[in-house]
Symmetry: C2
Subunit: 328 residues, 2 copies
Amino acid sequence: MARAWHLASRPEGMPVAENFELKEIDLPDLGDGQIRVANKWLSVDPYMRGRMRDIKSYVPPFQIGEPMQGGAIGEVVESKADGVAVGDMVQHMEGWRDEAVVNAAESQKLPELDMPPEYFLGFLGMPGMTAYFGLLEVAEAKAGDIVFVSGAAGAVGSTVVQIAKAKGMTVIGSAGGQEKFDWVSGLGADKAIDYKSGPILKSLMEAAPDGIDVYFDNVGGDHLDAAFAVANDRARFAECGMISGYNDTDPMEFRYIMAVVAKRIRIRGFIVTDFIARAQEFYGDMGQMVAAGKIRTEETVYEGLDKQVDAFRGLFEGANTGKMLVKV
Amino acid sequence: MARAWHLASRPEGMPVAENFELKEIDLPDLGDGQIRVANKWLSVDPYMRGRMRDIKSYVPPFQIGEPMQGGAIGEVVESKADGVAVGDMVQHMEGWRDEAVVNAAESQKLPELDMPPEYFLGFLGMPGMTAYFGLLEVAEAKAGDIVFVSGAAGAVGSTVVQIAKAKGMTVIGSAGGQEKFDWVSGLGADKAIDYKSGPILKSLMEAAPDGIDVYFDNVGGDHLDAAFAVANDRARFAECGMISGYNDTDPMEFRYIMAVVAKRIRIRGFIVTDFIARAQEFYGDMGQMVAAGKIRTEETVYEGLDKQVDAFRGLFEGANTGKMLVKV
């Protein structure tokens, strides 16, 4: 019998335990082209909060009473799909459960990069691609730029910091708390900001006396407003996420947004799946950076499917350093 | 003796009469390359509010005790410049006064388009170029797009409405009050919104059941937030101005700004002077639209240099329909 997390009710503000229910599910027999996967690693990501709302967006909302979904990596235990054998490690989107039947065409065998499989949910997976294309394509960041990245201790942000350094940029990273501050500094950021130590605007003004050319936004709110304040002329903002607002029902307040006009700021929202066709380019370049020792990683791991809701809630409480994962 | 408006003090919030002083000034004798101009028409524009602040921006701030500046059109009454004759009509930036000595190189003779000269402070001048390049270049608007423009009864906005219609777009324009609503409708907007008649979000949702592809922003604040709410996927926002915030010391509030990520919205601030090198392209295309009867204009005229402060303050009170001008 497999077990899967279901959406029990839609949260208002911060999700609570009662919004989720772990239930047994019957898995179907395999049809042609399908595989059965024993999940080993499950991802929790901030964007999942958006799917808990009943709003049409770039991914459909979770439905009440139905199983939830998300990134997962597991081992194939039964296969009726050509080219996929028992024992293969695959990545797919039927997470939030311990076992899944998926169409092989909707899964990917892990690239043979001789890396721990869970890395493919982190800096070698969606978060890594988000960092890579968001920084280099969306924000058009280049050597010599001064880059500010918020959420710099997270899965995406920590990868942005390291790619930016590998590409010859100056990097300012913000994160919450001394431990994360230390980790971001250790990743090679030229300046780190602990946003819990004082107003982000003041900290950023001190950290960026020459302004910023690029802002990689994971936070929104006061971080975005501070970025408006210190942005240089023609700065480029990549809008990856605004986690500060995901559980907040109050409007975000901006004192410096008018700088968008005077400084000719360019802001662009993006979704990583827009770049999925360029995955090989990402693996190629990222593989070189990893081989050159320029990318380090860290995971925060919760053990057991039972803990997935705790892991997910932890994202919004800053409980993770690096990628937040659940080990089944 | 010439007279010129001087900055007496910096306003907090809405400018008041005491922030300005009309004083006599001595004009110098002409040097080589200079001309003396009797100003006939003076411009007031929202961006001038920014120059009253002591903040470094794309134009330097006005200095306390010094004359103010701005667009002006006048007749040359004395010339020591090659190619400029007494009687020529020129445009220059020494406005807020009745007579000025300027370097001929910093003035432009009016193009010979057989138009009233004051049009070159409006839809054939900076506001017109702002509308033209903002819509077509910055927002990359094209035939078939649904375009929302705020401040649609203003000098820039009313030109945006008409260029968009001439280029085959669907246009929704917002303005304040029944009279402006009627004028915007008369310009050919497919839908007009009187934002004083109810919340802009509700009005825009009703006016844009198929969403918007382009937002030309003159207002910021609640209009910008409503545009986030109704924007289609990959909508483009041209940030021309945010007049709602120029005199407001409170932060702007946004409930829908997170849509920038999910909808992959692109936002770009711009300054019209970035496009000044392409003025001939503008005159050529605009001249054709005018000849084809596709562009109409209206001015709100205050008579006399004494009235310039009233005209300027009127911009922020919605006192103008079309271009706000002072006739000297």
